[in-house]
Amino acid sequence: MPALPAPGADMSHDTLLVFEVTILVLAIFLGIEVISKVPTLLHTPLMSGTNAIHGVVIVGAMIVLGTPDKSTFTWIVGFAAVVLAAANVVGGFVVTDRMLEMFKSRERPKKQDGA
């Protein structure tokens, strides 16, 4: 007979899964909501900005490489994953920053009013 988890005990695997799926679905709607407000003007920075955000995979790669008592295989794969993900993160944010830096409403800070 399965016992209910006591309050404060670790969540069961299924409970966690349902919770994760909930978050996933909400994230889809949040993503659509936020993105649909981005003007075409900024679609390239949007692409490279979201590109940088999926570089968060570095967290996963670090967890793999940081596993205690791992096999050589995990070590090599984890190392490669961290290298790739780090390139993704740094490259993504730097490229986006370079692009956004260029978008100006006026060329030089002239002493004029209005944007």
Partner: protein, 464 residues
């Protein structure tokens, strides 16, 4: 660091990412948004590092230094015109990382006693599969844009069949794995087949369709990362990955809508290999001839116009002519000419490509008009200057039902009093489609490299 504390700190990162996207709704705040996103990322990395403790810290540091160093140098050095391939490259490595994590996770959970639960193995299989497609597909897109591989569609007999077989094979191995066949080799085969599929699926897609492909692959990587979050039970990966997945999907749909084609047509239509029929329609235009003009003639037209609209296309990026166009526009504005830029949503090789190039040349963004705002303006425009654009100004899209681009919304430059087309030669554009605009009596052609032509125009306008 406890599980709950690290999750709370990850929540701050999630908020930072959402803010980063939110701030992108306005070019004035967009840069700050990106910095907030980067700060959030830094926080997540620090939290993860503390959580892991001292295990392999030097290996992590070394790997970060290598990857981050490469990313920083590449991102600093790349020219704005090469931005699409750079985005494709960074997208690919992200997908690759997600696939590697899937491999490592399966390796961890597989050995005899700990059989993975169905949902974990499903996440592993899917992120391996999608991440690999994204990796190899992005690398091919990079190769095409960097012109390491020919940009034209590469097709062969039975292509769809081979692609289909590879995909089904990858899927079958994946299903076997989820169904409980505990063999690591199945994942290797899944990944190998997905890598091959990624290559073969991007190869037949023409350069002009790259905006759709790049945003789709971006969505793929996001999805692979979100699935990685299920493997590692990490909310941060799930939410951030899915944000990117949703945004990439939305952009993909918007891009294909801007071309009036379905996503499936873009991906499997091998658009742009129709060189034979292009020759036919060229023959049909045989009765008409194009008018070619000298730079002096065009300079006079421009200098005495009231309103001039520049219509940039991929040719502008190839010729690196954005600064020269800007210089010409400045000169014209000094002479009292009203200058704007009309930008088609799929001009260039990635969404919004032209906006970035012109921003690089310091063109103020209020002068950049989107298609819907630009089109009504053409009827009161004296001269429309088409710089390296072709299909996005092709009137066949409005009138010729037989044209492959029929129905695609275009910039109606032929509503202007006069049209100047800067073009290297009469060869059809990337999509290989003949353009009747060139034979329009209102149109004059200025042949030559876009950069050289514009430089000449600048000199001639100056001397007027």
């Amino acid at each position: 660091m406890s599980y709950n504390l690290s999750n709370l700190l990850y929540l701050i990162t999630i908020v930072a990412f959402v803010l980063a996207l939110h701030f992108l709704s306005n070019p004035a705040h967009a840069r700050r948004g990106n910095q907030i996103g980067a700060a959030g990322m830094l926080l997540a990395i620090v939290v993860t590092w503390i959580k892991i403790g001292s295990t392999s810290w030097w290996a992590i540091a070394l790997a970060m230094l290598i990857g981050g160093g490469f990313g920083a140098v590449a991102a600093r050095k790349v020219r704005m015109t090469a931005m699409p391939q750079m985005v494709a490259l960074f997208n690919g490595v992200g997908g690759g990382a997600a696939a590697l994590i899937a491999l490592a996770e399966l390796h961890q959970v597989l050995p005899p006693p700990g059989a993975p639960t169905a949902d974990i193995s499903l996440a592993i299989v899917l992120s391996g599969l999608i991440g690999s497609i994204s990796f190899s597909g992005s690398m091919v897109a990079f190769g095409k844009l960097q012109e390491l591989i020919g940009g034209r569609p590469i097709t062969y007999a039975g292509q769809q069949f081979v692609n289909g077989a590879l995909f089904v094979g990858a899927l079958a191995c994946g299903i076997a794995l989820v169904a409980g066949v505990q063999d690591q080799w199945l994942l290797w085969i899944t990944i190998a087949a997905s890598l091959a599929f990624g290559v073969l699926f991007v190869l037949p897609i023409g350069g002009a369709d790259m905006p759709v492909v790049i945003s789709l692959l971006n969505a793929f990587t996001g999805l692979a990362v979100a699935l990685g979050g299920f493997e590692l039970e990490n909310n941060l990966l799930i939410v951030s990955g899915m944000l990117v997945g949703a945004s990439g999907t939305l952009l993909t749909l918007m891009m294909s809508r801007a071309m009036n084609r379905s996503v499936a047509n873009v991906l499997f239509g091998a658009f742009g290999k129709v060189t034979v029929s292009a020759a036919d329609s060229a023959a049909a235009n045989g009765g008409q001839s194009v008018r070619s003009a000298s730079a002096e003639d065009v300079a006079v037209m421009l200098a005495y116009a009231h309103k001039v609209v520049f219509v940039p296309g991929y040719g502008l990026a190839v010729a690196q002519a954005q600064h020269d166009v800007r210089q010409l526009a400045d000169l014209l504005e000094e002479k009292g000419v009203e200058v704007t830029y009309a930008i088609h949503p799929v001009a260039g090789r990635m969404p919004g490509h032209m906006n970035v190039l012109l921003a690089e040349a310091n063109v103020p963004y209020p002068q950049l008009k989107e298609m819907d705002d630009a089109n009504p303006e053409f009827s009161r425009t004296d001269v429309a200057v088409v710089v390296g654009a072709n299909d996005v100004v092709n009137p066949d899209a409005r009138t010729n039902q037989g044209s492959p681009i029929y129905g695609m919304p275009i910039l109606n430059v032929d509503d202007a009093q006069a049209v100047v087309v800067l073009k290297r030669s009469m060869n059809p554009g990337f999509a290989g489609i003949e353009n009747p605009l060139f034979y329009n009596p209102k149109t004059v052609m200025l042949f030559g490299d876009a950069k050289e032509s514009i430089t000449k125009l600048v000199a001639d306008v100056k001397s007027l």
